[in-house]
Amino acid sequence: MTQTFRRLHRTATLLVVVAVCLPVPSALLAQVQPDSFLGQASTVRQGSSLSAQQQGYSLRWVPGLADGRKATVQVSGLSLEAIDALQNPAWNLADWRRVLAVYAEQGDSATASDLPPMLGTYRIQSGVLSFEPQFPLDPGVAYRAEFRLGQLPGAQSAKDARLVAVFKLPAMPQRPGAVVQQIFPSSLTLPENLLKFYVHFSAPMSRGRIYEHIHLRNDAGKEVELPFLEIDEELWDPTMTRLTLFIDPGRIKRGVLPLEEIGPAVKTGKSYSLVIDSDWKDGAGKPLKAGFEKRFRVTAPDRDPPDPAGWKIQAPQPGTRSPLIVTFPEPMDHALAQRVIQVVTDSGRDFSGDVTLEDQERRWVFVPTNPWRSGTYQLLVPTTLEDLAGNNIGKPFEVDLFEGIQRRLATPTVKLLFEVR
């Protein structure tokens, strides 16, 4: 039996293979890389080391039916001998990669020639060699599949003979990027020992070297040097729409070197701007639609712990869902005030509702899910609640060690009673 008869898939010429490569759903773009392909086609047609029968090889990308990002690479036209050899259980990843490799193009990288092929699963099924990438393909990235027919077991082709097909999903459609919706604290005046900002975005954002996009500038436009606690982990919420930005505690705490050497990040009586650059990319890779600037003036440090005894509680009417309003003498930490304060009935049963903060986080507004009933309710306030300077209830941010550390950690929760009548 000649090799010609044993061929499973035969196509007339390599150019026909090109045609096989091209039909893809309109939403996708699969292309044969013109230069590489023509060069190889020329080799196939003219190279003395390749027989005519070997022109029947087909290399193509097959986009996933349900998800175009799950494309596979298929090579057909393999001889039975080649298939037998490819099914050798002793073959390892390096053997497979010698025959068929897929590269995610990295642009003009200096080490581009040294880049490894991407990971995936190799299979032989119905006489077709296929490669399924381990990860979904990224839009806008060119993926180059190389089938090195000269490396097939028993191949008589030139060692460097190869077919190349490039697949590229169109880049994500242009749409406006995310925006900064709000920065808390929302007050226009902040204490010199402010502990943190919360930056809220309209859509999930991207991680990695985020501090390059965040600046604190004084009223002359000069950048404050290293004002933030920069940690690689980055303090995002699970949806990646809220970033917590701590001021470097070394610039807040008295008696530590950073404060001694370069002083507080912001100084009493001065004005500053917290600036978010527009080149920060959101989770979809789009730059922010616009930058954001929060201006504020700095007041004296706040070293007094918040005291719930000074809060004003405006009790609602029974039989209504009117809001319970608690007014603080000073702004409280937005995230903690929204999450940790709880309303329970006199018997301690949870009384659910929605919380908003108003008046620059000085007013806590609770709208219950069900109408109020006449009687006594409790407002449970965990002492972990912080003001803008990180002072806890009954426990300042900085504590005098002479007081002893045991005495400070008292009750975990403060209860405030109010009557609905």
């Binding site: 949806t239 008696g255 912080e386």
Partner: protein
Amino acid sequence: MKQIASRSVLALLVLGLFVQGAQAGKLTAEMKEGKPAFQSMGPLAFGPEGILFVADTKGAAIVAIATGDSTPASGAKLLKVEGVNQKIAALLGTTADQVLIEDMVVNPISHNAYLAVSRGRGPDAVPVLVRVKADSQLEVVTLDKVKFSRADLPDPPVDGVVGQGNRQSNPRRESITDIGFLEDRVLIAGLSNEEFSSTLRAIPFPFKTVINGTNVEIYHGAHGRFETRSPVRTFVPFTVAKQPHLLAAYTCTPLVQFPIDALKPGAKIMGKTVAELGNRNRPLDMIVYQKGGKEYLLLANSSRGIMKISTDQIDSVEKIEAPVPDGNKKGLPYETVENWTGIDQLDRLDSQYALVVRRAEGGSLNLESLPLP
């Protein structure tokens, strides 16, 4: 967390508790075989027997993986991968700007390097574990069928209040900034994205079905009379006066020492501040090594230089309790290693070399072996 395994070995030797022969295989005996689920991969630490601890911040868990990578390294082989971020990107079928190297750790037995990587930078990023062997080739560690055990971190008390209206989706998350294995427990330093606090959690290993974490509050006296609940950024076990201690670097730059014996449930520990590192020194990674018969601490600082700290006097150094005057750094002496710039990740490769992930111009990252200074 870096050389914590080898340091803990030292500590155990000192205590006469090191019974590797008797324990061999026991640590993995109760592990199950399968595919551990990860939502993210952050800090890494090696324990004994090639067990790799992986912190999953998104999943609020620590996963112990029996890597089986426990063949001792043969000879000194220096790892070097130029453009490691680009090569990982190529391997994962994406571009370098979509790859984040979260942590890098060296297996103290085989000297192979492990990197926790995120493929993608948004909320749908996929965590991947990458290994670099002695030939400096990259490979993805297949976790489809491994022996592993998982410890879900207990919710801290402040998470107990949920379920009212819009609070049902809890935005609070505790990032794990460092982990380490010590004697029979995994230590975890965390930082919340809401309240500012210092907790060091200790979880017994092998993990039990029900994990009761131990929260320890640590105070240190670097600020005159004033003190805060500052979070631990990174830590390393260290032997002082023949007793195992932890040396913890805080976000506000003091280096604080406290005895490991004090890490008891609910403990409130007063640590001893042994050095004030000053401005621009934001602790990132610490390793301990010996050179010329002396012991040193190497502290990487957020890509802004690296500090070499002699620990000769750590036992006798006077604790810092008064404000440090301008320009007069108190505590342990240290020097800045000027030519170690752009260090993103640091671990000890062997007794002579450190392994670093270093940022080059243009944003490219290189994995390099550098002689310990």
